[in-house]
């Protein structure tokens, strides 16, 4: 059954910063208030609210419940939460809107990474018998992925550095980016390895931040805003949890999600990819069949702004922004969960036909 058209009608993100003094709920509130204002709606008209976050980042038990303050949960509202990137919260809201009995939904994602230590924390998402006791951190998994990609002959360390240099240059025009600047591959390659074959420029920043999106059914969207951004397709696919059981040089779940979202090789103007590590951009480009004509991560991407648990939702915002301002006709946004691109979501966005 073809899906009902759902549109993005308002969005907001807080600037990605290395350390915010604000609590996660205060960050969410800023994003939610601005997104609701941008959509021009009364929050009481929202029929469903969904959030994505992870309590482990701040170490606050049930922090996701406290975050509901940012949505206004009294009188009681219909809401849900995913322990996933906010892009999956958007997916759940999109599914909820397919029921047809409500016409507005609020989605938000938030992450405050500064209180915790990623090297200590992230192994907790691995299996508790083999990998977690090793303390296998995300940088190490990404290095194994990078090594596999180099060994396959599909990439070079220079290609990694070129991704980083381009991302930092692109981020210069992104007021929400944490890292930006003019640099080139030669300069970056002069740096030492952090986890061979990865250098510091191949690794993401970690940011504190929140993002929010307001969704509307097509008719309601046209009433409310001049340039609704339509979700033409959205889907996600997952691979096995154990990274050693996968070919890390490719991402079949991304390919599958893109196909399920209706992407069959049509021209894409802009792709915002949740490639937190430089090799992952190369893997995703190939898995999505993106050629050099596609502008990838014009925002600078997660290498320059990475509010974990909102990074994927920010990709959708950045892609929607470019459709709304007319710089892209058709845009693709990608989000990921898990380790080494285990679980991937693809969203195709277009303006009014």
């Amino acid at each position: 059954m073809p899906a009902t058209d759902i549109a993005i009608i308002g969005w907001s993100q807080t600037p990605s910063v290395e350390r915010s003094a604000l609590t996660e709920v205060q960050l969410c509130l800023k994003a939610n208030l601005a997104a609701v204002a941008a959509a021009g709606i009364d929050r009481h008209d929202i029929g469903f609210t969904c959030a994505g976050s992870c309590d482990y980042l701040t170490g606050g038990p049930f922090a996701f419940v406290a975050n509901l303050d940012a949505a206004g949960a009294w009188p009681p509202i219909s809401e849900s939460h995913v322990e996933m990137d906010g892009a999956w919260a958007l997916y759940e809201a999109w599914v909820r809107l397919q029921h047809g009995d409500i016409d507005l939904a609020l989605v938000f994602g938030s992450g405050k990474s500064s209180p915790s230590n990623p090297t200590e924390l992230y192994p907790q998402q691995l299996d508790p018998y083999y990998l977690e006791p090793l303390g296998l951190d995300p940088d190490s998994i990404a290095a194994l992925q990078a090594r596999a990609l180099l060994d396959s002959g599909k990439a070079t360390e220079r290609a990694f550095a070129e991704v980083a240099a381009r991302s930092r240059r692109s981020a210069k025009s992104n007021p929400n980016a944490q890292l930006s600047g003019d640099t080139d591959a030669d300069t970056l390659l002069a740096g030492g390895y952090v986890r061979a074959p990865l250098r510091s420029h191949d690794l993401p920043v970690y940011s504190d931040g929140a993002a929010a999106i307001v969704l509307a059914t097509a008719d309601r969207a046209r009433q409310l805003v001049e340039h609704p951004v339509f979700i033409r397709g959205i889907a996600h696919r997952i691979e096995v949890h154990q990274p050693g059981s996968r070919d890390l040089t490719t991402s079949p779940s991304t390919t599958g999600a893109a196909r399920a979202a209706g992407h069959n090789g049509q021209a894409i103007d802009v792709a915002e990819l949740s490639a937190a590590y430089t090799p992952q951009e190369l893997i995703l480009r190939e898995s999505l069949g993106l050629d050099d004509k596609v502008t990838v991560n014009p925002s600078g991407g997660p290498l320059t702004a990475n509010p974990v648990m909102a990074t994927g939702l920010v990709r959708i915002i950045e892609a929607a922004q470019r459709v709304a301002d007319g710089s892209a006709h058709r845009a693709l946004a990608h989000a990921t969960n898990g380790q080494g691109l285990q679980h991937n979501l693809v969203c195709i966005l277009e303006g009014e036909q």
């Binding site: 003094a21 709920v25 230590n117």
Partner: protein, 183 residues
């Protein structure tokens, strides 16, 4: 394998302790609350929409979903009324430092819209504590006050500056004064 006939395999046991470290900054609202408390003042924050006074300040109103600022801060009294209580008879679980029964009371400060939970009530036998009892904060000496208990997780605590609440000797507050604040 030296013994290929044995089918019994001893299980391999592994101890694995997990420890996660968090280093957090206090948000601005909690910093203001803690600083005032050390000075002997209890800071709240009044929402201009609903007029509720939150203690400690949150820098937003969760009911009206609006941001609040230091301009919305208000000082509330250190006197109030016990709205509910329990008597805890401590069992010696790990970490329990108390040995004698103690009071765990909710106190609605004068001028506040919500209670402070988990407050000790001293200067009165535990079996005389009751809802409606008028109380006043027993402040620690200035030199012993600290930011103990303040955290970015949750909304702050008075434990670093107020040791307990004591009866004021006033007549009990009427039921209507606290019946909406049972916890």
């Amino acid at each position: 394998m030296s013994d290929t006939t044995s089918t019994k395999v001893e299980p391999v046991m592994m101890d694995h302790m997990v420890s996660l470290t968090y280093v957090e900054d206090l948000p601005p609202n909690t910093v203001r609350f803690a600083e005032a408390l050390v000075e002997g003042r209890i800071l709240g924050q009044r929402c201009p929409v609903c007029a509720r006074v939150f203690i400690p300040p949150k820098d937003y109103c969760p009911l009206d979903v609006v941001e609040l600022t230091p301009d919305n801060d208000v000082e509330v009294a250190d006197t109030g009324v016990v709205t509910n209580f329990t008597i805890v008879a401590p069992v010696r679980y790990y970490g329990q430092t108390k040995t004698e029964p103690f009071v765990y009371a909710s106190v609605l400060l004068d001028g506040a819209s919500g209670t402070l939970g988990g407050q000790d009530v001293s200067g009165i036998p535990a079996d005389k504590v009751h809802a409606g009892l008028r109380v006043r904060a027993a402040w620690k000496p200035q030199s012993e006050r600290s930011a103990e208990g303040q955290s970015a997780r949750g909304w702050g605590s008075v434990a670093g500056c107020i040791s307990s609440f004591e009866p004021t000797g006033e007549p009990d507050a009427p039921r209507e004064a606290y019946e909406e604040h049972t916890i």
